[in-house]
């Protein structure tokens, strides 16, 4: 299937897939898009397919090129759904030189380790590096974390064609291939962004800085429809999605969210004291939420925008209560690295919850500089005063310029 002059789609269709990578659902299956680009000196293969679809991939490749003509293999991303056919392709195309991102060598080594495939040679490429195929030039754009560290895009200059890898992709299988021919895939596009790209929105914004200035005739992603009609609409949509999800009424202020659960009111009183202490510090907007009163999903939106988070939970049978874990296990969809975190809670017999929450926060790469607070059963005035102090310390930490924190470290 021709995508542009001398450019062919050589990917594979997987219409029966319903769950991708354990976590993503799809009502339409998916496609593994790979491409062949012909120049006067040789042919470049851009990405491959999932290993079990190799047969389909090689049949399509053989229809447009001989293996001896393949001089370049471009790997925009080494995840197995795009690199599955690589070892066999290296065996069949002995002249091919591999081009991959500067962040990819560790993964490249791990990928080839169990095989006997050896590339003729490989080059690590970065933004601005080019490959001349003879009258056609491939230019690389380093776009790390969209959605792996190694992800890059490859731009075919003469055609204004961007091989965008997972960027602008979606799990949607339709043999008509092109966005002006396939069924309605808007939901799949949005869903894919929300699950794959959202945790990396700062990196999305940086990648768009590289992509937006390009002359774009077509975007050819590694999954889902090829975007030849109004490709820039999808770039604009990514720019919107990478912005703030909620209107920020606390603009110019730092934000602290205090989440709690409470069976008899003790942890609630601790939460109220943490919040009240934080409120005393100017420049910090504090919000208090009872986790019993909400679903995890909208809280995730709040967490994404917050600067600091404190979690209060009683201990039940040696553990924190489930709604805390429901929220703390839903945060892989957003970036929480380096946010400020803290834990507190009342307990009856043993008080493991605070420690367990702190461990989880550290595992998520929160900063947890202040020791959590535990109160046996009903908190005393002194213990509530400790909670107010914790709130103040958290708030002061949030409004202290980073440079001063570095000095104090």
């Amino acid at each position: 299937m021709a995508v542009a002059d001398g450019v062919h789609w050589i990917g594979a269709l997987d219409p029966t897939l319903r769950t991708f990578d354990i976590v993503l659902r799809t009502a339409n299956g998916t496609s593994y898009n790979a491409y062949a680009v012909r120049g006067s000196h040789g042919v470049a293969v851009v990405d491959t397919v999932k290993e079990s679809f190799s047969g389909e991939f090689f049949r399509r490749l053989e229809a447009v090129a001989d293996y001896d003509e393949i001089t370049a293999i471009v790997l925009n991303h080494l995840e197995p759904d795009h690199s599955g056919a690589l070892p066999e392709l290296l065996r069949r195309a002995p002249r091919a030189h591999v081009y991959l991102s500067v962040k990819a060598p560790l993964m490249f080594k791990a990928l080839l380790k169990p095989t006997d495939a050896v590339p003729k040679g490989f080059t690590l490429v970065n933004t601005g590096d080019r490959v001349d195929l003879g009258g056609r030039h491939l230019r690389f754009l380093h776009t790390p974390f969209l959605h792996w560290p190694d992800t890059q895009c490859t731009y075919l200059e003469e055609e204004g064609l961007l091989f965008s890898c997972d960027v602008f992709g979606c799990h949607f299988c339709d043999a008509r291939l092109f966005n002006d021919r396939v069924g309605d895939f808007r939901f799949s596009f949005e869903y894919y962004y929300a699950h794959i790209m959202r945790p990396f929105r700062e990196h999305v914004a940086k990648a768009l800085d590289l992509i937006e200035p390009l002359d774009l005739a077509t975007i050819a992603p590694a999954h889902g429809p090829i975007l030849r009609h109004a490709p820039r609409d999808y770039v604009r949509r990514y720019r919107e999605l990478s912005g703030r999800r909620l209107i920020n009424e606390a603009a110019g202020e730092r934000t602290l969210l205090v989440f709690y659960l409470s069976a008899y009111g003790s942890t609630r009183r601790m939460a109220e004291a943490v919040a009240a202490g934080a409120e005393e510090v100017p420049g910090v907007r504090v919000s208090l939420y009872d986790l019993e009163g909400g679903e995890a999903a909208p809280f995730v939106d709040l967490v994404e925008e917050a600067d600091g988070l404190a979690f209060g939970s009683p201990t039940i049978n040696g553990d924190a209560a489930k709604p805390v874990w429901d929220l703390l296990s839903s945060l892989s969809a957003v970036n929480v690295q380096r946010k400020l975190g803290a834990a507190f809670g009342s307990y009856g017999w043993s008080g493991e919850a605070v420690d367990l929450i702190e461990h989880r926060l550290r595992g998520l790469k929160f900063r947890v500089p202040f020791e959590g607070l535990r109160a046996k059963l009903t908190p005393t005035e002194a213990e509530l005063s400790g909670c107010r102090e914790l709130g103040q310390r958290l708030a002061r930490h949030l409004v202290t310029p980073d440079a001063l924190l570095a000095e104090a470290a």
Binding site: K103, P105, L106, P149, A406, A409
Partner: protein, 95 residues
């Protein structure tokens, strides 16, 4: 406490930090362009070129050396999540 002066060439910012600070901690605070992943010396994402002042960074551990080798890192490259500033002046930029 001994201090080190770190310059991030890509954004033209110089900051003074206490000895022992890891490059990634400073880079993140000043908004330099060093990307990172695990922050534990495993993934190699935060590979950084040390333009000058190599000797003002603590020497790489055996594990960091292995990741640098497997990443085909050229000379004077370090993992920002591992490299600790010792003192003096250090100039870095994203690899």
């Amino acid at each position: 406490m001994p201090k080190a002066k770190v310059t991030f060439e890509d954004i033209g910012v110089t900051v003074t930090v206490p000895a022992g600070t890891r490059l990634i901690e400073v880079s993140e605070r000043v908004g330099a362009g060093i990307t990172y992943g695990c922050r534990e010396g495993e993934c190699g994402t935060c590979l950084t070129r040390v333009v000058s002042g190599q000797d003002n960074l603590a020497r790489p551990s055996v594990l960091e050396d292995q990741v640098l080798k497997d990443s085909f890192a050229p000379r004077h490259h370090r993992l920002a999540c591992q490299a600790q500033c010792l003192g003096g002046e250090i100039v870095v930029r994203p690899a």
